[in-house]
Structure formats: structure tokens, C-alpha cells
Symmetry: C2
Subunit: 451 residues, 2 copies
């Protein structure tokens, strides 16, 4: 296998040694000859800021574009902002149009214009075609470099035409058949050229029922189409059916990966393209916002508890048991929330079946509420020798797990309707409510039954 | 675009209507003619169990294999177990070997043997070749259907050979060049056949520096290789370099997607291939385990609070403020944990830089601890008119956020060393510790300063 994780680690260590001992010649050799661009990017991403700058300066300009392409956006932005316009042009020159456009999008608008100004005219036009679409649409993902043919020629002619190319664009699995007005009328799979009689015309063997993607389609929708149809590439067209470019599976894989990372990072209130080695101040500032939102939620919970200060003063055991009721509600609610978020994102949940889901969740919540209420009641009675307290915490548990099932189902549906990502804010909202319900149920029931 | 989400919703509604009114003829027509197999699968996944059974019975046997392939494992298992062996063979007949093997793996061992026994000999041999590898390895992912050629023939001969095929296997971007002993010696990109002079030999134009994958490589590693090298397909070889099959990008996309879903579901203690419409009892049973683990953690927290029952009895305000300290610690710790888990999974974190990360996290934690401690102290003083209480909660906050940074960094590294998935158990472990530290700091400091 040409991919050796162990070899990579060894090289990483040798690189660190060379850097420590100041042997810059060796650093340069290791970076530029020993490693593929994707590995150089990984080395840079794995290095704290100060040494990272040093390493970056040793990367050959010819390789910088390729390396940049594999870095996360945080670092792309930092490096690009420190390069002057001609250098950016030089570094991105070896890249495909779509990849170059992705990179340039990390630049502030004014800098981007400077870079475009010093670029060869044809390249500039191609890049602007991609840059004119939002980054998260098919237009922003597409490569404008396509191989097009006419319908009325024979495969023999196509073969002769192809032999004039030195190589075809990467991931070319289809030749695109266009009209004189550059309207897309079909696709000819490369494999079909190979297995067909050379004398037939393109029209006779081309596919006309092809999957095309509108330039303004959102990238998530693009990923879903690729996945469902097992595509390698797909043509991108304008509203009037003109061919604009094509999207290839490697870019779609990036979208899928980024979305996955995004969900996980967003649940913690973090940026998905964050540099693992971001400096202290940037890290603290970004996280502070989420902590502030959480403080707001915790304060509301605290105010709810405040109403029962007298009850707690009388029965301190309640304060000891409080976290059990709230955390069980939080966990049960999160389970429901997660299943619903996944169901929604897979397109399973609709008006027709949401009532079934709500009933199922309520029944499962009640069942688990009853089971664990008994366990907790026994523990509470054993600890405090108080049967009433056992009964109260059991009741509070069942109430909280039922409410958790109810709002765990409704929150993602409501947030979805409001066009808010449930993965981002659903968790805080849910645990705030289950905390309040858990505490109020426990302390409220105690207030009623003891006084 | 041939993919119309709105049209899908309309069909779904018409299907529901037809099912409700018992018009089974219409249901059959809608299912078997109106929808692609992937969409039928989505309909089934979006339908509660009872109607799902009814719908499934209306799907033509010829289409059942394709539909099954797109269903989640939970439902695959249910449907397959209810089919007899000859029916399973008939339904899976149109599938590629790797896809058929994937499905059959959902059957219990005895049933799998029954199915293999009634299968045509050649198919059985090919399936057994795939089934002999664990499901999560390259061998379990591969398709044994490859197009192989010899090195010494001319491209002209290759072209003539290819024309004898009616079609090439899907995602064929390379012809694999093998020796007489079926050792892999090179790959010939399809595109290169098209742009090369037909009279040259395969050996002259083939690639010899190709990415190959060992059959026992883990699927995550396979996905990482595909992603890093932007592959469409890759040959799978045995330890002695013999060609066994090939893996294509569509299977790798499935692996990437499943991994992403898995992380999210596992964080809630849920199965990743769970049926959205699993029945109540199965749902409750699966979730109960996770709730039990959480109850254990909550009990430990509760015992810690129990040591300070007398203090709470004296100052009930502490019970009111408790959730603020613990939840801020939990959030800050989760942020650190998430960044570390992502850093580890991207291969950024190593012995060389973990100290840098720990220092950064501690500094960021302290900074945010100080900022929010002031805010919380001011709120506490305003609420309870008690400066000492304000000072105590501020100190508890700073302590808890520092500890959160420390253990948020160390937990994933420790779990990784123990070969435990940090995404699965890291969260509970972390919040249990931040809860205990938060409560003990607040109540302990109060005990010291007030008595």
C-alpha cells in the first residue's frame, strides 16, 4: 500500500527534530520531497502556531496551492492573508478552478479583487464564473473544465477527438453531449465508448435520462443526490439548461465530511472549521458566547429552584437528590431528541407519522420512567429512611421522563419549522426545560406533601 | 433534475391515501412503477411497523433486493428473517456480490448457511470470498467483479476485448493489470486508453505506482485513503499481492456517512442503524442501559452532595446556585472534549503537541472562568445580598472551569490509549467529574468560610 500511517508518524518526528535543531535545509527536504501535499497539510494542522509559520515558509511556492487546499479554513485564511496578490496567483495556479475558487473565498472581498486583477484573463473569467455562486451551492462546488461533444458524430470521431487530449479532467466518467447553443442534451459514459461499435453515432448510445444539477442547488442537496444515485460526477446547468460545469464525487465527499464534523462541533457551540491549535484568545472568545448562552439557561433554572428555598431549608435531602431527577430527564430527552434529529435529516419524519412517533416516545419514556423511578425510590428510602421522600422522587422521575419524551419530540420539529438547526440549539433548550421540570416536580411535590 | 423532492412528497401522500383506503392495486402500482428502489426504501423507513409490513408485501420480488440494500440494518434484519431461503436468493440475485454479502450478513449464521446452500455454485463461491472477511474490513467491502488484463497486449487488443463486454462493472475507472499468477502489477486508467495511440502495449502506459488496499485493512482506514487520494476505486489485494477484488467510492461514501451518524447516535447511547420507527419495547430496552449508566453517575454525584447536607440546611441559597456552577463546568469541559476528540480523529494530536494543547485549554478555561465568575458573583450578590457567597461561587466557578479544561483534555487521550471510543463514554465521564468538582467546590468552600 502506498499509504503508510507509520511512515507518516516517523517523518513527523524527524521533522520535529530537524525543526528543533534548526536544520532548515533538512526541514525543507523533508517537507517538499518526503511528503505528499495532503500530508504536509496534516503536519501543518498538527503544529502549534509559531512553528507552523516557520514550516509554512519552507514549503515550495509550487506546492503551496495544493497544500492550502487541504488545510482547514481557519488556517487557509491566516496563510492567504499574509501572501501578496501575485504570490496567491502563483500558488493557486496548479489548482482546478473549483478548488482555486474555494481557496480565494477565504480572502476578504478587497483582497480577492486584488488577486483577480493580477490573474491571466481566461483564468479570471473561469474563476469568476464559479465565484459568482454562493460557496454552499452547486455553482460554488463545480469545476468549469468539462469535455463536451456533439450528438451527430460517430464514436470513431469521438475517439479521435479524445486522442488529441493529453489527459482528460479528473473523474471524467461521462462526456457531455451539448447542442450548438451549449444546452445539455445527453451524456455518454466513457465505459460505453469502450464496449460499443465505433461506427454508431453518439446519439444512438448516449443517455438522455440523466441526473443534472441546477447551479443554485444547495450543497447538502447535491450530496444527497450523489449518494442516492451513486454518482461519480454530474453536470451543472443554468435555469435555461445550458451546461455550466460539473461536480465530481471528491468534492461531494468533502461536503459530507464537513457536514458530519459540523453537527458534532455545533452541538458544543464550536466552529466546524476551527484550527485545533488556535491561540488562547481566539479560543476563549469563540467559546465565551456559548458559555454565556448556557449561563442564561442555568440562571433560569436557578430562579426556578429559588422559589423553593424554604422547602430546601427544611429538607436538605432534596438538594442531595435534585441532580438525579434532572440528569435522568436530560439523558432521556437527549435520546429522543437525537432520534428525531436523525429522523428529520434522513427525511423520515413528516406530518403523517409524527403522532405515531410522539406516542411511541411517550410510551417508551413512561416505561423507562417507571423502571428507574422504582430503583431511585428504593435508593432514596434506604439512604434517608423516608418512604414519602421515596414516593416523591419516583413521581418526579416519571413526570420528568414523560415531559422529556414530549419536548424531545416537539423541539426539533418546532426548530425545523423556524428554520433553526436543531443540532445547534436543541440540546441547551431541552436540558434547560428538563432541569426546570425535574427540580420543580421534586421540590413542588415535596412542598405539597410535607407542609 | 431527475430528482424531485416535492414530487417524492406528493407520491408519499398519494401512497398513504391509497393504503388508507385499501386500494392495494394502486399501492402496488405506485411502489413498483412510480418510485426508484432508493425511494421505496425511504418510504418504508418513514412508515410505522404495521403499515410497513403491508407495503413491503406489495414490492415486486425482483425489486426487493435493491430496496433492501438501501434500508437500515434494523429493518433489513426484520424483513430478511421473514423470507425463506429461496426467496432471499431470488431477491438478492440482481445485486453485486459486495452488496448481496452486506445484506446476508444481517442473517443469523444458521439462516445464512441455508441461503448459501440453495444458491448457484459460482455465486456462492464469490459471496463466500467476501463473507470470509469481517464486515468492517476492506475484504467485507470489496466487489469481486473486476476487469483484468495482461501487460503485454496492445491497447487495440484491450479495446477489442472490452467490446466483447455488454457493459463494464459500475465505477470502473481502471483496468487492473495482473500477472499469470493473478498478482497485481499495475492499473490502466480507462481515460488513458482513450487518449493513447492504440498500438502501444499496456505495459508502456499503465501506472505501476498505484494505491492498493490490503483485504484486512479497517474500513475507516479505507475511507481515509480514498478521501486523501481522491480515488474512485482501488484494488484489494491479499498479503501475497494477489488481486481479490475492488472497492468503489459509493461504498466508501456509505462508510463515511455511517461513521458520522454513529458518532452522533453513540453520544446518546443509541444504536446507529436504529429504525426510526422501532416499536416501544425495543426502543425502551435499548435506551434503558444508557439511562442506567447515567443513574450510576448521578448517584455518585448525589453521594458527593450528601456530605454537605448540613451546610445546605444552613444556607439553602447554595442549592439554588449549585446548577450554575456544575452546568458551566459541564459546557466548558464538553467544548474542550469535542475539540480534542476531533483533533484525535483528524490525527492532529500526538505526544509532541499534547502539552501545548493542555496549556492552551487551561489558559482558555481560566480566562473564561474568570470572566463568567465575575458575572455570576454579581448576580449572586444582587440576589442574596451576601458578598461572601458571591466570592465563594466565583472561586468555585474558576476551579471548575480549570478542572474541566484539564480533564476535557486528558479524558479523550486516556480513553484513546485504552482503545475506548471517547465519543461514546467521554461525555458522561466528563460531566460526572465536573458535577462533582462543581458541587464539592461550592459546598466545600461554603463549609470552610461560613463555619
Amino acid at each position: 500500500m502506498s499509504h503508510h500511517p507509520d511512515k507518516f508518524q516517523t517523518r513527523l518526528e524527524r521533522l520535529a527534530e530537524a525543526l528543533d535543531s534548526g536544520a532548515m535545509d533538512q526541514v525543507r527536504r523533508l517537507l517538499n520531497r518526503g511528503l505528499a501535499p495532503v500530508d504536509v497539510a496534516r503536519v501543518l494542522e498538527s503544529t502549534p502556531p509559531r512553528e507552523r509559520e516557520l514550516l509554512w515558509e519552507q514549503v515550495d511556492i509550487a506546492a503551496q496551492g495544493e497544500v492550502l487546499q487541504y488545510l482547514n479554513e481557519d488556517i487557509q485564511g491566516t496563510f492567504l492573508t499574509h501572501m501578496d496578490a501575485p504570490r496567491v496567483v502563483e500558488a493557486t495556479e496548479p489548482l482546478d478552478n473549483d478548488d482555486a475558487a474555494d481557496l480565494l473565498q477565504q480572502l476578504p472581498y478587497a483582497r480577492l479583487q486584488e488577486v483577480l486583477d493580477v490573474m491571466p484573463v481566461e483564468r479570471r473569467a473561469r474563476l469568476e464564473a464559479v465565484l459568482s455562486y454562493p460557496e454552499d451551492t452547486a455553482g460554488g462546488l463545480m469545476d468549469t473544465n468539462t469535455v463536451t461533444i456533439r450528438a451527430d458524430v460517430s464514436l470513431e470521431v469521438v475517439l479521435r477527438y479524445l486522442r488529441r487530449h493529453k489527459r482528460l479532467p479528473e473523474s471524467t466518467d461521462n462526456l457531455l453531449v451539448v447542442s450548438r447553443r451549449f444546452e445539455l442534451i445527453g451524456a455518454l459514459p466513457i465505459n460505453r465508448i469502450l464496449v460499443s461499435d465505433p461506427s454508431v453515432t453518439v446519439r444512438e448510445v448516449m443517455d438522455t435520462d440523466i441526473v443534472t444539477i441546477n447551479a443554485l442547488t444547495h450543497e447538502d442537496e447535491v450530496a444527497s443526490v450523489f449518494e442516492r444515485q451513486d454518482l461519480i460526477s454530474a453536470p451543472v446547468i443554468s435555469l435555461d439548461n445550458r451546461l455550466l460545469g460539473r461536480i465530481t464525487i471528491d468534492d461531494v465527499v468533502d461536503v459530507i465530511r464537513e457536514n458530519a464534523a459540523q453537527t458534532m462541533m455545533n452541538m458544543g457551540g464550536l466552529e466546524d472549521e476551527e484550527d485545533t491549535f488556535a491561540p488562547v484568545l481566539r479560543t476563549s472568545r469563540r467559546r465565551a458566547v456559548w458559555l454565556g448562552i448556557n449561563l442564561l439557561a442555568a440562571t433560569v433554572v436557578s430562579i426556578a429552584i429559588g422559589f423553593f428555598e424554604d422547602t430546601i431549608q427544611q429538607i436538605a435531602a432534596l438538594a442531595v437528590l435534585m441532580p438525579i431527577v434532572s440528569s435522568m430527564g436530560g439523558i432521556a430527552g437527549s435520546q429522543t431528541l437525537t432520534v428525531l434529529i436523525r429522523g428529520i435529516s434522513l427525511g423520515h419524519v413528516s406530518g403523517a407519522n409524527v403522532r405515531w412517533l410522539l406516542v411511541r416516545e411517550l410510551m417508551a419514556g413512561t416505561l423507562n420512567g417507571l423502571v428507574w423511578a422504582v430503583v431511585v425510590a428504593v435508593m432514596a428510602i434506604a439512604r434517608f429512611q423516608d418512604y414519602l421522600l421515596g414516593g416523591i422522587i419516583a413521581m418526579a422521575m416519571v413526570i420528568n421522563l414523560m415531559v422529556a419524551a414530549l419536548i424531545g419530540t416537539l423541539i426539533p420539529i418546532a426548530l425545523k419549522k423556524l428554520a433553526i438547526d436543531p443540532a445547534l440549539s436543541g440540546g441547551v433548550l431541552l436540558t434547560t426545560i428538563t432541569d426546570i421540570v425535574g427540580f420543580v416536580a421534586l421540590l413542588g411535590l415535596a412542598t405539597i406533601f410535607y407542609f
